[in-house]
Symmetry: C2
Subunit: 335 residues, 2 copies
C-alpha cells in the first residue's frame, strides 16, 4: 500500500498543487534557479504528495536529496559512550527532521579517507555537520573533498575556515573557578579534556584566568572527555596524597568518574573536596550527590547549526558564519 | 591532492588491473552478471585504485554503492543512552568496514515513514541491518518498501520473515535462574524489558522454567531496558517492603540502576539481595560491586550479520536465514 501511495505522485501533480509550471517545479526541486518562495511552495507540495523524484531523475536534475551527514571524527565506541555527543546528535536529529531533512550518522572510520568520501558522495549528502572535532589531516582532506555546505558544532582550528556554532568555553572556565573560589577553595585539580581539542584549552584558560589571579594553585591532568579519565586521574591523585581541595572536571562524565573514585577512597564531596563539572547532562542531576556544573545550551546550538546549514543549502548564502552561546553555572550540592 | 588521486582512475584502469574486459569490470561493479570470483577481483582492483564510479555512472550501471543503513526503531536519545545498542553498532561498524562497506546510522524518526523511505532510497543503501526492533506497523512498511537485503539482529516477530542472528534468550534466562538457585535464593524480583519485544519474553520464559520449577516465587516488573527502569522498579519494591532475596535484571543497565537504588536504601548486595544481569557490558565490570551476568557474544553476532548480509548483496543468495548464538554465565560478586 505505502509503496503505491508513495510512487503515485508525479512532478506534474506537484507542479499543479504548487500552482507553477512543471519546469519550474523541476527546477525548484533541483538546483536550478528559483526564488526561495517558489522553492518552499514546491517543496511543501512535494512533501504533501509524498513525491520522491526517482533516483535517475534526481541525478539528472541534480536535485536536493535533503540528506545531511553528521560526522564525528572519533572512534565509534567513544561516540556511543559520550552523553554529550549523544545530546548533540539527538538534538540535531530533532531540529533537522523538523525541517524535513534526513540526517544520518556516518559510521565510517574518519581515518579511512576514501571510504568517508565515498559515503558522502554516494549517499547524496548535501550538507554535513561535524562535532567533537579533533584535528586530523586525513579528515580535513575529507571535508575539503566533500565540497558541500559544512558546519561545525564547536569551533574548528583557525586554519579551517568553516562556519560554526560554539559556546563561550572561556567564560565557562571562569564560572567554574568563581564557584570554587566562593567556597574558599584555593588548590584545584583540573581534570581536563584532550590537548588536541580547542574547547578544553579555552576552558583551562578561563579557569586559570580567574583562579590563578585570585592566588589559587592549579594542577592539570589532561585526557579524554570520559568517565574513565576522571576515575583514573582522581584515583591516581588520591593515592599519591591529594593536595587539592577542589576539582574542575571539564566534562560531567569526567566529574562522575572522579566522584566515583572519591567515594571509593572515602574522600567526601563537598566536605573534603568540592567539584564542579561541565555540560549539565542528565547524569549531573541523578547521581547520589548532585553536581554543580556549567550548562551548555545544546538544544539551542543544534537548532542554530541546523538553521545556518539548511539556509545555506536552500539559498546558497551563509546567513552567519559564527555564533557563540553563553553558558551558565548550575549550582547543586557538589561545591 | 586526494581529490586528484581519487578521480584519476577510470573503469579502464580497473579493468586492466583486474585483467578483465572493461564491460566485465563494469558489470562486476554493477548489478550485471559476473561470477563472485570476478566480482571480487574487480572490486579489489577498484579499491586499490581508489576508483569511485561517478554518481551518474553509478545510476546508469545500477552499481553497488556499498552503503549499508543501520536502523534502530527507537528514539534517538534512547539509542545513544543504551550501551548494548552502542556495542552492537560499534561492532557492526567494525565488521562492515573491514569488508569495505560504508555504514551509516539512520537518524530519521522510524515513525516518519516517508522520510525513512526517502533516506533509504536517496542514500543508495543496498542493505539494512535492524536491531532493537519493537513492532511498529509503520516501520514494517518501511522495510517492505525498501525491498533490498535486510537482516535483523534479534529475532523479528513471526509475521516478518527476514533473516536474523540472535542469542538463545531462553537459555540466558535459565542460566540466570540457576545462578540464583545455587545460592539458595527462592524469591526473585524479575525486572524485565519491554512487553512488545521478543527477547525479554524469552528471557522471562527461560527464567521461570527453571526458577519456578524449583519452587521459587517470581514477581515481575516490566519496563524499558534502561538504568532508570531498574532504579525506579527497585526503589518502588524496597519502599513497599521488599519481599525478594534476589533480582534478575534483564539487562546490565537495569541491574546498575537497581544496584544504585539498593545502595541508597542500605540494601546490601549480595548479602541481602543477589542480583544477576544480562549483556555483560563494560559497566558490569567497573561498578563498585561487580555484576554476575549473562554474556552476549555481540562481536560474533555483528560479524555474522555482516557476513550473511554482504554475501546476499554480492551473490544474491542468503547463505543462511537464521543463526542463534549460545550465551554464557559470567560469575562475579553480585550473587
Amino acid at each position: 500500500m505505502p509503496r503505491k501511495r508513495m510512487n503515485i505522485a508525479t512532478i506534474r501533480d506537484v507542479a499543479a498543487l504548487a500552482g507553477v509550471a512543471v519546469s519550474t517545479a523541476s527546477r525548484a526541486l533541483g538546483k536550478g534557479s528559483a526564488s526561495p518562495e517558489t522553492r518552499r511552495k514546491v517543496r511543501e507540495a512535494a512533501e504533501q504528495l509524498h513525491f520522491t523524484p526517482s533516483a535517475t531523475a534526481r541525478q539528472l536534475s541534480n536535485g536536493h536529496t535533503r540528506i545531511i551527514a553528521i560526522a564525528i571524527p572519533e572512534e565509534t565506541t567513544f561516540i556511543f559512550h559520550d552523553p554529550f555527543i549523544a545530546a548533540v546528535v539527538s538534538q540535531l536529529t530533532v531540529s533537522l527532521s523538523k525541517l524535513g531533512y534526513l540526517p544520518f550518522l556516518a559510521l565510517v572510520d574518519s581515518k579511512d579517507e576514501s571510504g568517508f568520501v565515498r559515503l558522502l558522495e554516494s549517499s547524496g549528502a548535501e550538507g554535513m555537520v561535524i562535532t567533537s572535532f579533533r584535528y586530523s589531516k586525513t579528515f580535513v582532506s575529507v571535508i575539503k573533498n566533500f565540497g558541500k555546505p559544512t558546519i561545525f558544532i564547536g569551533r574548528p582550528p583557525d586554519n579551517l575556515d568553516y562556519p560554526y556554532v560554539d559556546i563561550d568555553n572561556r567564560q565557562g572556565g571562569r564560572l567554574a573557578a568563581g564557584a570554587l573560589l566562593q567556597k574558599g577553595r584555593s588548590k584545584a585539580l583540573m581534570i581536563a579534556g584532550p590537548k588536541d581539542m580547542r574547547a578544553p584549552k579555552e576552558r583551562s584558560q578561563g579557569f586559570a584566568e580567574v583562579f590563578a589571579q585570585a592566588g589559587g594553585e592549579i594542577e592539570v591532568d589532561e585526557g579524554r572527555f570520559a568517565l574513565q579519565h576522571g576515575y583514573e586521574a582522581m584515583g591516581r591523585h588520591i593515592r599519591s596524597g591529594l593536595d587539592a581541595d577542589s576539582v574542575f572536571a571539564q566534562s560531567d562524565q569526567i566529574a562522575v568518574g572522579a566522584m566515583q573514585a572519591m567515594r571509593e577512597h572515602g574522600v567526601r564531596c563537598p566536605e573534603d573536596v568540592s567539584i564542579v563539572g561541565f555540560d549539565n547532562l542528565d547524569v549531573a542531576n541523578v547521581q547520589p550527590l548532585s553536581l554543580t556544573t556549567v550548562a551548555q545550551p545544546v538544544s539551542d546550538m543544534a537548532k542554530m547549526a541546523t538553521d545556518i546549514l539548511t539556509k545555506r543549502i536552500e539559498t546558497g548564502v551563509w546567513v552567519t558564519r559564527k555564533k557563540i552561546f553563553e553558558v551558565k553555572l548550575i549550582t547543586r550540592g557538589s561545591v
